[in-house]
Subunit: 469 residues, 2 copies
Amino acid sequence: MALSDVSKIERNEEGIATVLGILGQRFGERFQTGQAMRAQHAHTTTYIPTQAPDGVVFAETTEEVQEVVRACAAHRVPVIAFGVGSSLEGHVNAPGGGISLDTSRMNRILAVNAEDLDCVVEPGVTREDLNRHLRDTGLFFPIDPGANASLGGMAATRASGTNAVRYGTMRENVLSLTAVMADGEVVKTASRAKKSSAGYDLTRLLVGSEGTLGIITSLTLKLNGIPQAISGGVCPFPTLEAACNTVIATIQMGIPVARIELVNALQMRAMKAYSHLDYPESPCLFVEFHGTDAGVAEEAELFGEIAQDNGGGPFLWTGVAEERTHLWKARHDAYWASLTLRPGAKGLSTDVCVPISRLAECVAETEADIAEMGLIAPIVGHAGDGNFHTLVLMDADDPAEIAKVEAFVARLNLRALAMDGTCTGEHGIGQGKAGFMRREHGHGVEVMRAIKQALDPQNILNPGKILPA
Amino acid sequence: MALSDVSKIERNEEGIATVLGILGQRFGERFQTGQAMRAQHAHTTTYIPTQAPDGVVFAETTEEVQEVVRACAAHRVPVIAFGVGSSLEGHVNAPGGGISLDTSRMNRILAVNAEDLDCVVEPGVTREDLNRHLRDTGLFFPIDPGANASLGGMAATRASGTNAVRYGTMRENVLSLTAVMADGEVVKTASRAKKSSAGYDLTRLLVGSEGTLGIITSLTLKLNGIPQAISGGVCPFPTLEAACNTVIATIQMGIPVARIELVNALQMRAMKAYSHLDYPESPCLFVEFHGTDAGVAEEAELFGEIAQDNGGGPFLWTGVAEERTHLWKARHDAYWASLTLRPGAKGLSTDVCVPISRLAECVAETEADIAEMGLIAPIVGHAGDGNFHTLVLMDADDPAEIAKVEAFVARLNLRALAMDGTCTGEHGIGQGKAGFMRREHGHGVEVMRAIKQALDPQNILNPGKILPA
């Protein structure tokens, strides 16, 4: 189950050569085969070796995506959808070569239906682009995975982030998709109705399918009203367990917390130094409430009481935007802060998610494992969802260290599975976690394989991802 | 596209005879072939002709479901999952005969994980059973389709109801399923983690698949804390449009309304008489808020102001449980109240759902069509979701009237599709709406057919449903 043992797929040299010719002729400057461009499109943020595609095509319309897919289908050549390349598990690698389909020029916002709280966008629109566009409407798109990812990529990996506890993940926030299937046909998965019982849920089938079943060419997304008031702050705890019990009680009381982020002591140390935060070096919860003035004040007070009951506090909260922004910038900069703990190291982010009743136990066992192995790996977590990341700081050129980290990650993933959790809450499987699919899904892997085989019989759409060989 | 023109599937007489023998021997008294029992298991609440199965087996465990499915698979005999028979579109009919798999004895609540706000139940547990069981935990399961349906059936049809606007539908509230697939293998679709990015979303694929891809044998469901406070009431409006605009503004302002039900003037007349309500015979909204004492009062006041801005009111609301119960009992009895408008008639419920910006227009055009055709058909709607039902009161023995109603329903469904809506918000496709699938899904129907073919190549799981012939 070695993480670095990525899938190898036989190259169809003849087909690839033919498709390179076809696309070069058809797309001119919008088709590129330079070394740097190809490598950048297989960019991985892990130590998974880069497997570059043979060419990169910048499509601009659904029809152009159809053309590319049809050319690739006719010659049995892989086609790999590409957003901004911020995925973490080798999703955009091209283990059998083929064509990277770059969607960055499909960046139009096609409609904002304010009355219906939805919008229609092309896949290359990033979440920051969208929220900038929405600014004057009083609406916003809540899903925030940290990176300024493309919305197509976020749907493809079923992304979420800090405020999923309140607003859900891409699973709940995509109303409908348009996608080009492996045969080049276009499917619109659903209408703009809020709900439907009309047949199989093709929207949810494509969300999280990582470009292996279809290539998303437009998305209809749910929007939310910008809250009238926001309050938030940071609350320190003597132990991880006290912090986790506070999370459980908060959720169970139905307090509609918008964000509730766990940061462990080591991560706090890094953040204090990097972002000049004035908090103790102990486990903390970063929390935020969205609602009316009276509501968010009431919720913050209630939360403070729960924290105190669990031995935590003081909970210092504010309704002042600038102060909150500083806190959340610090939280969002946790990755960069962590890197200062071991200058020159590369960070590998894990992503398990467990039922929240098991969160304290899972984090504590993981901290113990980190200590025992002598790793440097701070922890941040979307505690309200039971999802946490360790950022393992490693020398990616040292095979012995890689092996050690792989063993740590494998133990962590199996620990989460044993607690009725998942090996990935929001990053996806890609290449990095395909080895855990059988453990997590059992016979479900064969069901997924049957679906893949039915919808992409030639295995041209992002081959070598999700399903174990 | 005649609604009464249900699918016909050739009977495999030899296989059926063999399976009847096998199941009789294996299940003894838990396998029944009496006429009344068979007819009751093909019970339809529409005028779709009853197509009885050849036998009814009362399974008690996942292993027994596997046995039944394997026997049916070995002899190519249809097997149709049955909950309580409250589905509305011929879902439990057996057009090719075969075995009805009754899940009513699979009615155990296997676990309540209060800390995680989830529970694990067998498919025959009804929502009222579950909520009775949860009463002392401070938790509840919110989805309420009106009927005391089985939770397996609710998942299979992607049911929802009055409070989906706040709590979502079965799509959002099923965390994981165990299901027996067409080959008799068991799949567990997901862990108990709140979210996951691990591969294709088999949970959502099975939710709404109406027993055509697998037979659900257990469900892990999200639970919610019983709100500390509830407020609610009824608000009359001069016009449907005023009521719909109030709904739009309420949702857009982010007021977390728990229920917001539209009732048209004719329906109000019926409800006033049947349930002794003291409100005008004009369009009304029935609304409810869940939260803290201060929160629900604030929300009710805000709603009242929005209603007044739209020419509605007065909004009479209360926090007193008994008074609210009376209102909601009246709303839930709308079906029975409607029947008094034409004694002896049978009611056919339509189920379109449109973007809420189109709701007023869709309801108004439908009211005009009803008037023009001389039908009696009151309207109730889950307005916050854009979903509404007309209950067409008809003489189900009069072919001319059936034809007229069919024409009305077809126009209504096409009207919703033209408004970027769906022909079914929560009832499902079954046999009754299969004729609208191509209009709604285009090439998506072929994708669904490929999935069905891949997962059930012999077409033994509830054949003749969802997919058009």
